[in-house]
Amino acid sequence: MIMKNLLAYWVSLCLLFSSCNGGGSLPKEYGEASEVLQIYPDYQEVEMPYNIAPINFMVNNQGKEARLLIKGETEDQIVVSSGEDMKLCIPQSKWRKMLDSNKGKSVVFTVFVKSNDGKWLRYKPFANFVSTEAIDKYVTYRLIEPSYMSTGEIGIYQYDTETAGQTAIITNHRKKKIPENRDQCCINCHSSQRGNPENKLFYYRGPTGGLILTYNGKIKKIDTRAGDMFSGTVYASWHPSLPLIAFSSNVVRQSFYNRGKEKVHIYDFASDLVLYDINGNEITAICKTKDKQETFPYWNSDGTMLYFCSSDSIMDRPEDIVKMKYDLKRMKFNAEDRTWSEPEMIYCASKENLSAIHPRTSYSDKYLIFTKTKFGPNGYTQKASDLYIMDTKTNAVRSLDEVNTPESECYHAWCAKSDWFLYVGRVDDGNYGRVYFSHVDSFGHVSKPLPMPHEDPLYDHQLLKSYNAPEFSVVPVSFSQKEYEDVIFNGEILKAKYGSPITDSVDSYSGASKLGLK
């Protein structure tokens, strides 16, 4: 038994180092396969940005070896061969040339498989369209296990969409190396300013942490709990041009259910909206209500409007989560005197007994994508969570059936030119979230999702962590992990001032301006 195991193991080891060969020639004689081609990830009939990394995949049909022919409308072609692991890895330089010369055209993928009896079979080819629009060069996300209570090893990473390379922006590896140091040091919520993407923020929780803000080339650590806020800030949206960040301040909790496939629900016991002025290091209230919960602020493209979610129910106990139905609202913002209008309802999901969350307008403000789910402010763990698109001129809403599945789809984000968006889908196994890209054309048509490529096609299957809150970015993070860690572990924390009146209760939207904001 030991020898058998060892033998199988060394075969796997050899496969590991022999996989992703590239090159090779096409079989001269072959028959036509009668069965449907099965590949992982599913890259069949998708639309691809012309600058995307090679879409390496693995053939799941039975066979000993596979070959791939990629042919564009121009004369060029790429031939790739696999090892016994059936992984087809496309050489990057050839792939880049192929996409560059086929913008706006289709490239055809033909897969040949050598069956167990040694004969080659050709599967029905599939065509992928090469979009003329590029995708943003970077995607940042957090990697985290999908269902647990305490903080494990967490990190925020930066993925290069052109090379599929991943680098760490910040991890809590340092703390986790020391077993006696069991305090929570969660890292979360990475986002950048639309107009000036070098400006970024994330949180490093725990005793030495805070809001880690990169602004105008400097890193600061800020304690954003100020005045009578019931907690620090959580979900952020940068004003596109001004030194302002809208935050929600949430008391986040999670509950675990005894049965079923939705194992955990995350919710807020309380939530309000605040505005943080970076230059003045001051927080002021936007919505401070006792009879409502507001969360997920999001600025429109010119910063004149703030979208957010609002629930008319509040939470007294965890079981109330099923009553929490969020609607989409927005408020006008006057940048000169920093005043807000009364909130305006833009989508009343509670009427359908559902919850609408994560509103995000495209950079052209033409479309707004949001997640609709059964209840609560978290769609990630609910299978019913689907993406919806709203035409902001007509307020017409439709389900994004092109991407929605029986599993959860959420955490969407637009790329800088708004012709691509990404989201996290859990269609693989219902638990681990994976990143998908989808194209939106000028008519609002959405393409079949393209799974985020990796050098090893099985990477996402082997990765025992979920992708969480991904965001596009056009520029890389300009600071190293060391520089961030210096601020986190050794930097002084700046306590934000509170610029609103400290008041115990205001039972409806306060309209911060009416309370004497600057």
């Binding site: 296990e145 305490s150 675990f256 496939k261 025992l464």
Partner: protein, 584 residues
């Protein structure tokens, strides 16, 4: 000529003796521990694991050691490998320092460290330490040998120092240890360059560790200095590892002198000294029968050898809570839980887990067999994230996903297990059920039972003690309600028992009341709730027996005396448990 042959023979004689003793201690006396250390370790043959492992101080050493740790799946094989490596350390030391029998001190100390891991095994502890501790020392000695080989050249010692500093990226603190050995060697041999060597070595080490910790591995400088040694949190292991370094340096300095002192005329004395050292190491190492018993019952549960588990648990004098829980699991799979749960000793002891909760040792299994699949998944992932990746949790997550009707999720975990040397056997077993989940319930009736008893209503789990799970929720099913009764009984909460028993009367009218539940009913009656027995069909012999028990208790003034005197006749009953059980 004859003398040198005799010397060689006696040297190899010591080595054979040491090898035999080390093998005995590791492979026979600590075989359960070795298996457990492997089960709570992690090595997966893929890029992700390689990348994560290599990006830490001493990453390559950890990677290689984690690979070798897989062989502890077969403790005999693992013990042979470890014993051979320990002998290897002695051979290297003898060659380098000519310290005779004294060369055995370092491997003996390593043996002591290995066998002192104990409950740290379940914690955020790298179990590959069993191999890395020996291989690391061997690497350091080899670097010293290299420096001696190079020392004939003027730059040789600097090259060796540079090499050992660079090897920091592969073997971590053992490289620092090697650099110290090289510098000390300079002093030993009175080389002219010794002081310069010292400063060059110090500079190399400081620069390399600073660079590595801050820019490459992102670790605190202090932890980068000692990794991959266990953190000072595991004080005994940390300091005994440092003591090994100190011993090697001391032998390097004084080994030859000590060798002359211990050069006994009769080799028997030398054998005696070696034997005493090894036995001393064993005597002072972590020896805890409960610790071994917990690993054993966990393994038996994993292999679903329920009868063996029950008889093993019943053979223990002072079982711990995890053993008790695993016995309860085994009884429940046999449908004998209510009948047999309290037909057991009530002399319990506590696991000496120190920093860890006992729940870490059994929660996932308990939740699986209690039909709380999400709870089982949650705990498996909780431990996975907080104490680190371990095969044991990966297997649980795969199994629970399948029981929870999520075959694709099970496949994700199972495919990871397939990339291991020996866990793949289990993965191949589960694989056929992932492809055909219904056959799992045919082949493994215990899973069919837990599947049937899954609560049919949704509720939010309260994250408290597992035993309280049943007590927190409303009526689920008769089978579950009976478990709830037993939980009340275990908690000695007679009020809750009386209340919960009301809902079970109709059920018991049809099935009959299990003996220990009858005993609990009578205990309630004797403790101020006589109405509870009204209308129940109670065994009269039992009534008489419990009556005797209460009379006897009154007659013995001292509870300890009563406990001892009544043990023979009433020992395995609920009412005896109610009065006398405690976790020491």
């Amino acid at each position: 000529m004859n003398n040198s042959i005799k010397d060689i023979n006696s040297t190899w004689g010591y080595r054979i003796l040491f090898f035999g003793l080390a093998f005995l201690i590791l492979g026979v006396l600590n075989s359960d521990f070795l298996y457990g250390a492997q089960d709570y370790s992690y090595f997966i043959l893929n890029d992700i694991y390689f990348g994560e492992t290599i990006r830490q101080t001493g990453g390559l050493l950890i990677y290689v050691s984690a690979f070798l740790t897989q062989f502890l799946f077969y403790p005999i094989l693992g013990a042979l490998m470890l014993s051979a490596l320990l002998v290897g350390v002695e051979v290297a030391m003898e060659r380098l320092f000519k310290a005779g029998i004294i060369s055995f001190v370092a491997p003996v100390l390593l043996l002591f460290t290995m066998t002192s891991v104990g409950y740290a095994m379940y914690d955020r502890f790298e179990n590959s330490f069993l191999f890395s501790s020996v291989i690391g020392v061997l690497c350091a000695l080899l670097l010293l040998a290299l420096s001696r080989w190079l020392c004939s050249k003027s730059w040789g010692v600097y090259a060796a120092l540079l090499l050992s500093s660079l090897s920091y990226f592969a073997i971590g603190s053992y490289a620092i240890f090697a650099a110290i050995l090289i510098v000390v060697d300079g002093f030993c041999h009175g080389r002219k360059s010794k002081h310069l060597c010292f400063f060059v070595g110090l500079l190399f080490v400081l620069v390399v560790v600073y660079f590595g910790s801050n820019y490459l591995f992102h670790e605190f400088y202090s932890s980068a200095l000692y990794s991959p040694l266990p953190s000072p949190h595991f004080a005994l292991l940390f300091y005994s590892s440092l003591a090994t370094f100190a011993v090697v340096i001391a032998i390097q300095l004084y080994g030859e002198k000590l060798h002359r002192i211990t050069l006994f005329q009769k080799p028997l004395w030398s054998y005696g000294l070696l034997l005493a050292m090894v036995l001393g190491a064993y005597f002072f190492s972590y020896r805890d029968a409960n610790f071994d018993a917990e690993i054993k019952v966990r393994r038996l549960a994993e292999e679903r050898k329920w009868d063996e588990l029950i008889s093993y648990a019943e053979g223990l004098d002072h079982p711990t809570r995890p053993v008790l829980i695993y016995r309860a699991i085994a009884l429940s799979t046999q449908g004998k839980l209510a009948e047999k749960l309290f037909d057991y000793t009530c002399e319990f002891s506590k696991s000496k887990t120190r920093f860890l909760s006992e729940t870490t040792l059994m929660n996932e299994d308990f939740c699986i067999y209690a039909s709380f699949f999400n709870y089982a998944y949650l705990w498996s992932m909780e431990f996975w994230t907080t104490v680190g990746s371990k095969y044991a949790y990966l297997r649980k997550m795969a199994l629970v996903s399948l029981l929870n009707d999520e075959p694709e999720l099970a496949r994700r975990y199972n495919d990871a297990l397939k990339q291991t040397l020996f866990q793949r056997r289990w993965a191949m077993w589960l694989d056929k059920y992932i492809n055909d989940p219904r056959s799992l319930y045919v082949d493994c009736p215990e899973f069919n039972a837990v599947q049937k008893e899954t609560p049919k209503v949704d509720f939010i789990l309260k994250l408290n003690r597992v035993i309280d799970s049943y007590r927190n929720y409303n009526f689920l099913s008769y089978e579950n309600a009976e478990r709830r009764l037993l939980a009340d009984m275990f908690k000695k909460d007679l009020r809750a028992f009386s209340s919960d028993f009301r809902g079970m009367r109709d059920y018991y009218a049809k099935t009959g009341i299990p003996r220990c539940v009858q005993e609990a009913v009578l205990t309630c009656a004797y403790n101020g709730n006589p109405k509870i027995v009204k209308g129940l069909n109670i065994d009269m012999a039992l009534v008489e027996k419990i009556d005797d028990f209460y009379k006897a208790i009154k007659s013995y003034g001292n509870p300890e005396v009563a406990k001892e005197k009544l043990k023979a006749r009433h020992g395995h009953t609920y009412y005896y448990f109610y009065y006398f059980s405690s976790f020491k």
